[in-house]
């Protein structure tokens, strides 16, 4: 037993240190065409900057939708985009001259080029998916545990006089629950 455990432990350590060091977000930056810059316009530089951030956010959301990533769960907002997606503080662009009006200010933000922000969004989306999966698994396990616990306690309470009946009832209930879940699904 001791040797088996030591062997398993050693193999685990070897697996960790010798496999590709790739337990990282799936690197999609190479495959996905990421936006490069976001431009905003406004009467003042501040308004132009805010507009640029909004445009950047829109682009990110559009990209997410294109990859079936639901922003309802992640709640990627403009503050997040400004902090994690955009490069530095941006820069002012050329003013836009309009007839009979004051020129509009432009603000240009570059997206970060390493793609890490996109990986992070993908990771977060995957994390939400896995949490949902775990919730289902945990619910199922809890029901099974509850059924097992109830069966054992009832069997004890009845001094094992109705063991077969309890087993059959338990199997029917679990079967019905599985069938119901299957039909709803």
């Amino acid at each position: 037993m001791m040797r088996s455990i030591l062997g398993i432990s050693a193999l685990t350590i070897i697996w960790v240190f010798c496999t590709p060091l790739s337990a990282q977000p799936r690197e999609l930056a190479n495959k996905v065409k990421l936006p490069r810059e976001a431009i905003g316009a406004g009467e003042t530089s501040e308004k132009a900057r805010v507009h640029a951030v909004k445009n950047a956010h829109d682009q990110v959301v559009k990209l997410m939708m294109a990859h079936n990533i639901d922003n309802e769960n992640l709640k990627i907002d403009e503050a997040y985009v400004e902090k994690h997606v955009l490069e530095n503080d941006g820069r002012s662009g050329e003013d836009i001259q309009l007839e009979n009006q004051d020129p509009l200010k432009q603000w240009v933000y570059n997206f970060r080029t390493d793609g890490a922000w996109w990986n992070e969004i993908v990771r977060q989306d995957r994390s939400v998916e896995r949490s949902a999966l775990m919730a289902r698994i945990m619910t199922g396990l809890s029901i099974l545990l509850l059924a097992g616990f109830g069966y054992i306690r009832l069997d004890e309470y009845t001094n094992r006089r109705f063991t077969t009946f309890l087993r059959v009832t338990g199997a029917i209930l679990v079967g019905a629950a599985v069938a119901g879940w299957w039909m709803i699904r």
Partner: protein, 543 residues
């Protein structure tokens, strides 16, 4: 005038448990106090000495009893029983003397649980047919001793074991030839007060005291408690002498049997254990439901030469198994609920208004708790003490928790059978044209350039599971239901090892989940308060 000292009498099971928790074993694993026998672990502390699980040089597992107190009584009893062989008796192999002149008894190692442990899990007793089956095994063992002219004198649940469905009677420390029992005018310390026949106080007794004790045991198996209880040994003894047993709680079919077995006058009791065993069998056969109870599917023990006593039906460990699973499932369910409450509470009060961490925190806490609870609940009760096997098993499970944490966080696990083409840029040896700084930046977490992410997680959780004695928080006989000190220890280690985790988010998740695990394991694990019996000197004088 007979004087009965209660210092030995008071060695009932509860007192023994109390002693076990306080006393420490003299020898540790690996020591060889007796040539040829290597101690593996201590398994019991009794009034007469310490009992160890040991292995001979040849690899045979044995139990070693170091006889420290009442040496003469113990040795006398042992020598009478040394050559007795019976399926239902714990075999005594040899008596040895170590280099310091101390005596050691080499016995068969029984891996099963004592009946006291089993009964403690069944406060309302076990099923009548099961009690009857166990009684048959007990009766065979007593019959064998009586046939050899020996009275056990210390029959109690702590001396009866259930191994692979077979009853084994042990602890011959108080065994005594019947011929010696009639000597008057001697001071004798005999047996355990709850199972002590009334006539013991007179000093004039015979094998009938074992029949009386067997009656008490049958009563206890059927109801979950002994018929005579009291605040002190004296009170219990007085009840043995004067009070009739309350038989309203036992099944009515057993009442005549118990009435006769628990007669105050030994002459009115069953004259042999065989007679009593037959009466119990008749009770079971007379009830259709008990008689037709599903037969346990175990190999019957080898047939005894003496067919006088009906062969004990091998009992099934179903009850023990069921109880263990009942404990486990109940604990796991509790742990889920407690983890949910704690995770929500933490997020509300310390989460800074963000619920992002709630689900990973909950699932990670549940996973870590289950990795502590499941192995420790299924671990053999005879191996409660610390061992490296246990620690290494915990560490391996900690690795698993680390991997699970990483998976839950949305990271991809590199598996040989998956297409890792997209990960090519992350492999240094395949990263054509990528500058070292560039791939180093991608394969290592930005805030920690020492280890890859997977190694960070499994190191953190693996070490956390290795360094702490988590099983202590799940033991039923732990000193307190909830120990803040344990949680503090978990928190301290979880904080010390935080440097292994890459960034603030992971640090918070790792630290908090382990802290909550420390709470969940304690709160969800069953706990039994220890009963402290005052060991005051008491003398019962019987004219």
């Amino acid at each position: 005038m007979q004087r009965l000292s209660s210092s030995a009498i008071a060695h009932d099971t509860r007192a023994l448990n109390e002693e076990e928790s306080i006393m420490k074993f003299t020898y540790r694993s690996g020591q060889q106090p007796l040539t040829g026998y290597t101690i593996k672990r201590g398994i019991g502390l009794g009034g007469f000495g310490e009992v160890y699980f040991a292995v001979t040089d040849g690899g045979k597992e044995v139990a070693l009893k170091w006889i420290r107190a009442n040496h003469d009584i113990e040795m006398r009893g042992v020598q009478q029983c040394l050559n007795i062989k019976h399926t239902n008796l714990v075999h005594l192999y040899d008596v040895r003397e170590d280099k310091d002149g101390c005596h050691w008894l080499v016995m068969e190692y029984v891996a099963g649980e004592p009946l006291s442990t089993i009964l403690s899990r069944h406060p309302n007793g076990v099923a009548p047919e099961l009690a009857a089956q166990w009684f048959q095994g007990l009766a065979q063992a007593i019959h064998c001793l009586h046939e050899h002219g020996i009275v056990h004198r210390d029959l109690k649940p702590g001396n009866i074991f259930l191994e692979n469905g077979l009853i084994k009677v042990g602890d011959y420390g108080l065994c005594k030839f019947i011929a010696d029992s009639h000597h008057a005018g001697m001071t004798k310390d005999v047996g355990t007060v709850h199972y002590m026949a009334p006539e013991i106080s007179t000093g004039n007794y015979n094998r009938q005291i074992d029949i009386y004790a067997a009656g008490i045991l049958l009563y206890e198996m059927l109801t979950g408690h002994v018929p005579f209880e009291g605040e002190s040994a004296g009170e219990i003894l007085m009840k043995h002498l004067t009070a009739p047993p309350d038989l309203t709680k036992v099944p009515k079919e057993f009442k005549p049997v118990l009435e006769k077995a628990l007669e105050k006058n030994p002459a009115n009791r069953y004259q042999s254990i065989t007679e009593m065993a037959k009466a119990v069998t008749a009770v079971i056969n007379g009830n259709e439901q008990w008689r037709n109870a599903p037969a346990p599917a175990l190999t019957p023990p080898p047939k005894q030469a003496n067919p006088e006593i009906p062969m004990a039906i091998p009992v099934t460990p179903t009850m023990v198994f069921q109880q263990r699973w009942s404990d486990l499932t109940g604990t796991l369910l509790w742990s889920v609920m407690i983890a949910a409450v704690l995770a929500v509470g933490w997020t509300l009060f310390f989460g800074g208004g963000s619920y992002k961490n709630l689900t990973p925190l909950f699932f990670l806490t549940v996973a870590a708790s289950w990795c502590v609870l499941i192995p420790n609940k299924l671990w053999l009760p005879s191996a409660q003490e610390e061992s490296w096997t246990r620690r290494l098993l915990q560490m391996t499970l900690g690795f698993g928790v680390g991997v699970f944490a990483l998976w839950l966080e949305g990271y991809e696990m590199p598996m040989p059978w998956t297409d890792n083409a997209e990960l090519a840029v992350l492999k240094p040896w395949q990263a054509n044209g990528v500058a070292p700084e560039s791939w180093l930046k991608t394969i290592y977490p930005s805030e920690n350039t020492s280890m890859p992410m997977l190694a960070c997680f499994i190191s953190y959780f693996g070490l956390m599971f290795l360094v702490l004695r988590w099983w202590k928080t799940t033991e039923t006989n732990r000193s307190k239901r909830f120990s803040l000190l344990s949680v503090f220890a978990v928190g301290l280690w979880a904080y010390v090892l935080l440097f292994l985790l890459p960034n603030a988010h992971h640090r918070e998740l790792g630290f908090v989940s382990l802290l909550l695990t420390g709470v969940v394991c304690q709160v969800s694990s069953p706990w039994k308060e220890k009963v402290v019996i005052r060991k005051k000197k008491m003398r019962l004088a019987v004219a």
